[in-house]
């Protein structure tokens, strides 16, 4: 990934620019872009824990005012983490396409917001500039945008991917079926999987978080899902969310791997704490591509992210957690994923304290990912020690539905008995389908209708015990 020629075209500025603003008698000063971005971030506990948050509401808005005047091109000139120290920075700068940036190159962050909101800026215009945008530019503009801005702009940007079905089309909402079990019991997992399919869910992926990360456990689960998908000709894909090295080993042993999963973060050091680097992700992607298991597309990667992961690995380099999160999307987009899932409230209240902070973070993540060209989904979720409840999740779920989120989670009754947190349920997806008229991925939609599970894309049918999937259950 290191490109010596590009290295010298982005010199590290010898001293950071100082940003200052007087409001009344008070002078607010910020040293460099990293501090300005952090202080401009909407309030959240993780930035306070990191010691980078604004110390007053006024200081936060002062930082936002100054940030609005920063030229977008400054983010290319002043890397937040030095080029030679961090391979994510190198990836961001080396893959930046000046041609796609031309029409934005004279804009400030505040003007960029207005360009995004302009009537004439449609999905095609957003797609055309994606390769010219860096995570830092996108994070910066998100910090001065309101929730409705984040929704409006994201809704313009469709990101469509495919493997055995097509995800992200207008008017569609897909669901990851998440049939976890605390001991990876195959009967328990099969029971939850059938429950989800009979509730019309599972078109994004049938994805299991294994309790044990081992090649043997992963192979067992892969075979279980492969057999189910093949026998019933379900137009969907499976994924076992084990470590990327486990998946590579499974592939080399000939196991039926559809998608390769990995958690990714926005700094090289945080990724190292996950036991990965860019080269390893590339190796995994090549391995999955070599199986050639997709039928309508070849997007073979499934990534998960979440604000706070860099700080929790002590690898945030003084950056705020939302900027780190946007940098994780640069990692993801280098590998053309089928799905990117921000697991927004899983990390706990020390990073996102309450429903308000979780909702804001979910909208930011979806917006930033979409702007960078990623097929964003969201695990709308919380833990029991966060100050949040299912009504907060209803709110975020609805907002993301309006924003055109590609997929959500489907967990039986919203209660994940393996990971011990609350997400969204199969029932939640039917709420969103009804209220916003959203249908599953077209191939899966057809399959559901042919199998008498769903009518008109949005209504569940009564399922008889003679149903083929039910027969599967009896075996």
């Amino acid at each position: 990934m290191v490109n010596a020629a590009r290295f010298f075209s982005y010199p590290i500025m010898p001293s950071h620019h100082r940003y200052s603003l007087c409001i009344g008698a008070r002078r607010h000063s910020f040293e460099g872009l990293a501090e300005l971005l952090a202080k401009a971030s909407p309030e959240r506990s993780g930035d306070q824990l990191a010691g980078v948050a604004a110390e007053s509401a006024e200081e936060r808005v002062a930082a936002q005012c100054l940030l609005a005047d920063v030229p977008l091109s400054d983010f290319l000139a002043e890397p937040l983490i030095p080029y030679e120290e961090d391979e994510v920075t190198r990836l961001i700068l080396d893959s930046h396409q000046p041609a796609a940036f031309v029409r934005l190159s004279t804009l400030s962050v505040g003007q960029f917001r207005e360009w995004l909101l302009d009537y004439s800026t449609d999905g095609a215009a957003l797609e055309a500039v994606a390769a010219g945008l860096t995570p830092e530019m996108v994070a910066a503009v998100s910090k001065i945008m309101s929730n409705q801005d984040l929704i409006l702009v994201a809704a313009k940007r469709k990101v469509i991917t495919a493997f055995r079905n097509t995800i992200g089309l207008p008017g569609r909402l897909s669901v990851r079926l998440q049939p976890n079990h605390p001991t990876d019991d195959v009967h328990g997992i099969a029971a939850s999987t059938l429950d989800g399919l009979l509730y019309g869910c599972g078109d994004a992926v049938i994805g299991i978080n294994p309790a044990t990360d081992s090649v043997a456990a992963m192979e067992t689960l892969l075979k279980l899902l492969d057999e189910l998908i093949q026998r019933h000709q379900i137009p969907t894909q499976s994924c076992i969310l084990a470590h990327v090295t486990t998946a590579i080993e499974c592939i080399s042993r000939g196991a039926p791997v559809d998608l390769v999963f990995q958690s990714v973060a926005g700094t090289e050091a945080a990724n190292r704490s996950f036991g990965i680097d860019l080269a390893l992700l590339d190796e995994a992607r090549q391995a999955a591509l070599s199986l050639n298991r997709g039928t309508v597309g070849n997007h073979v990667m499934y990534f998960e992210t979440g604000q706070g992961s860099c700080l929790s690995a002590s690898a945030n380099h003084g950056l705020d957690q939302q900027t780190c999160e946007a940098r994780a999307y640069a990692v993801a987009r280098a590998f053309s994923p089928l799905l990117v899932n921000t697991v927004v409230g899983f990390i706990g209240p020390e990073y996102l304290y309450n429903g308000k902070q979780i909702i804001r973070a979910g909208l930011e993540d979806h917006f930033c990912g979409k702007l960078l060209g990623l097929p964003m989904g969201c695990d709308v979720c919380y833990t029991n020690h966060a100050d949040a409840d299912q009504d907060d999740m209803d709110n975020l779920l609805t907002l993301l539905g309006v924003a055109g989120c590609n997929f959500i989670m489907g967990v039986p009754g919203a209660d994940d008995i393996m990971l011990g947190y609350q997400s969204t349920s199969f029932h939640d997806s039917h709420y969103l389908r009804q209220v916003l008229g959203l249908r599953p991925a077209p191939e899966f939609d057809t399959w559901l209708q042919e199998h008498g599970i769903v009518k008109d894309g949005t209504r569940l049918l009564a399922t008889r015990s003679s149903h083929a999937l039910m027969q599967h259950a009896f075996e």
Partner: protein
């Protein structure tokens, strides 16, 4: 599962024909639907589980009661404080829960170092309910077992609002060979009272999670406190013989139920 299933009007709730699959998992499957939404009974059942989990997070830790129980069983408890002043601060600042208060650290520095084989630390962690209910029931049989095998048992330290890593500071200040941290785990909907047990050998501030062994889900419906005490005693004896803890020891464990959940 739902306690009020009878409250749903039969004609309005579509029952799921795969009800029998519930025998295979505790997941909330085949719960039926009203339109595409949750039946009232399932909605309220979920809300009750969440309420119990929230109450567990915010329940008061009965540290005095735990100390009294330990005294009554012949052990000498020691009350200390972490650097976290209250529950809100504890939730927001995990770093403060990982170390002793200044007063607590000073106290241990001046306390006589009798270099025990094992120091047990008890905290409410994220579920006071778990610590109140299962900590003494796990610690006492374990300590009795090890004492009978010649282990020199140190004082049992009771520290409200602590995180796992505080065991490294306490253990090293007391010159202990092993430490065991018993604390309430993050409550899941189905398990508001789950206790976790973390141990490490030769405690020092440089220890990381890779140096720890963990038994989680200690509660009557998971691994019972008595069974956990037996497993922990086995781990301690193995660790004493091999000098290993953490990943190095974990690989040698014969019983997969020791790691993570057990059915």
């Amino acid at each position: 599962m739902p306690s009020s299933e009878s409250s749903s009007q039969p004609g309005l709730v579509a029952q799921d024909a795969w009800h029998h699959l519930r025998q295979y998992t505790a997941a909330r499957i085949a719960i039926g639907r009203a339109g595409g939404s949750l039946p009232t009974a399932a909605l309220l059942d979920f809300r009750l589980s969440h309420a119990r989990a929230k109450d567990a997070v915010h329940a008061e830790f009965n540290a005095d009661g735990v100390c009294d129980d330990l005294l009554a069983r012949g052990f000498s408890p020691l009350r200390l404080d972490s650097a976290a002043k209250n529950r809100r601060e504890y939730l927001l600042r995990p770093d403060l829960g990982r170390r002793l208060s200044m007063h607590g650290a000073e106290f241990l520095k001046t306390a006589p170092q009798d270099a025990p084989d094992l120091v047990v630390i008890i905290s409410d962690g994220l579920s006071a309910l778990a610590a109140n209910s299962h900590a003494v029931a796990t610690a006492v049989p374990l300590l009795e077992n090890l004492a009978s095998k010649g282990w020199k048992i140190g004082r049992v330290v009771v520290v409200p609002l602590a995180r796992v890593k505080i065991q490294d500071e306490i253990g090293s200040l007391l010159g202990a060979r092993f430490t065991l941290m018993l604390l309430g785990e993050r409550p899941g909907l189905g398990a508001p009272d789950s206790l976790g047990a973390y141990f490490t050998a030769y405690p020092s501030l440089e220890k990381t999670d890779a140096d720890r062994n963990c038994i989680s889900n200690i509660r009557p419906e998971g691994i019972s406190p008595t069974a956990a005490a037996v497993k922990l005693a086995w781990l301690f004896e193995s660790s004493r013989m091999t000098g290993l803890s953490g990943v190095m020891l974990k690989d040698k464990q014969p019983d997969p139920g020791l790691i993570g959940f057990s059915s």
